[in-house]
């Protein structure tokens, strides 16, 4: 039987709002760089300029160009992405971390980033200017920077996590159970984007964590 044991650890982390439509990866990379090094000079547009391949040019001059404002990575097996560019030591695992591991990371002062993937039941299929468009899914990055547990047996259902999202809140955060975060973040069972569903609703089959990204303080360079 679980006994009461309050435990809370919230890191002093501020997530920058993403400055362009597809720059969640740049906002996460820049915000994490500033967390580990308050003197960091990284900005989202500098990071986009330095990370995207092939080089998009100066994204501070033309941030809305399609070459700059595009989805990108935190880190990949080929070492691409905003964590690589900012020299944040990082690695990833598939799926969501076990809650105990997440708590350990935060206890050691380390942020954990996540990729959420929203999968559509029917491929989003429509036409713009006569061109057929098909989109099966899209991704989004957020960071967990804190947790709160009131039991000696923490699990996904009873641990509240502090989620910092570069899109949905300006300099704020959300709290929810780790279970909700992993399985239903901002989807509420399915209406982030519908498609050709016969009833016109609920065509999202998945809104789940696909990758967890470990980070740690910047290495001296």
């Amino acid at each position: 039987m679980a006994t009461k044991k309050n435990k809370k650890n919230v890191l002093d982390f501020i997530m920058q709002p993403q400055q362009q439509f597809a720059w969640c990866w740049a906002a996460v990379g820049t915000s994490c760089a500033h967390f580990y090094d308050p003197d960091s000079t990284w900005t989202q547009c500098k990071l986009a300029s330095a990370s995207i391949e092939p080089s998009p040019g100066n994204c501070c001059d033309n941030p809305e160009s399609l070459n700059c404002d595009k989805p990108w990575y935190l880190i990949t097996p080929n070492n691409q992405g905003s964590f690589v560019t900012t020299h944040i030591p990082s690695s990833f695992v598939t799926g969501a971390l076990p809650v105990a591991k997440l708590m350990t990371e935060i206890d050691q002062g380390r942020l954990v980033a996540f990729k959420l993937e929203i999968t559509l039941e029917h491929v989003l299929d429509f036409s713009i200017d006569g061109q057929e468009i098909k989109i099966p899914k899209f991704g989004h990055f957020v960071v967990i920077a804190g947790y709160e547990s009131s039991t000696s047996s923490p699990n996904d259902q009873n641990v509240m996590v502090y989620v910092h999202d570069p899109f949905s809140l300006e300099k704020g955060y959300s709290t929810m159970t780790y279970e909700v975060f992993q399985t239903n973040y901002k989807c509420h069972g399915g209406v982030v984007a519908d498609a050709n569903s016969p009833n016109g609703t609920d065509s999202v089959t998945g809104c789940r964590v696909t990758h967890s990204f470990f980070t740690s303080p910047l290495q001296n360079t």
Binding site: W25, L66, F126, I133, F138, G139, F167, T175, N184, D194
Partner: protein
Amino acid sequence: MPIKEVYAPLKSAELFKDWASKQKKGRPRKRPHSFEESVPHKVFHAGLNDIISGKGLVNAQLVAWRHFHTDAKGNHALVEIKIGEKEDEHILQEAHFGPMALDHKSLLPKLKELKKLKDEDFELAYLRIFALRINTIWLRADQRDNDFFIPIAPCFNGFVAGQLYSSPDFLKLAQGAAQRFYQNNQARSREDDDFKGG
């Protein structure tokens, strides 16, 4: 332009009260769960196809209720109670903290001063189109064509945070955003897809 008073289902209100009772204690506010304090309002999600096809928001789906909360120490939050799959099922989804919560609430008295809104009563609601990175206050009139919107930062694709948009203007920009969404998601290699986000 009075904002219509709408009341959340009892179960949603009870979950909100239960959440509030567990927050920081202090000198209790007089009526923390009154309409004026909590301003319960609906949260909708909308589908991209309807926006692209010009159907607008007629099929937007009610997914949650939100309640404002201010604790005795002046911390503000927006508490979202999800509507479950079973009839009358409500589930605590999440609580949002930060400047946005107070900004939302501060907006309400300002709405009464806007000339464009003087001719009709509106229901305060919230619209989230996650795929298009759109979060907006949705002022719902009796007819969808007469709705107004006030987007919340961060905004993209021509939307300006805090600006009032008529329904046609809002939907036109949303269609542009949908096009951008497509452009951002096309031509990705399958191998990279698993790691990419935006």
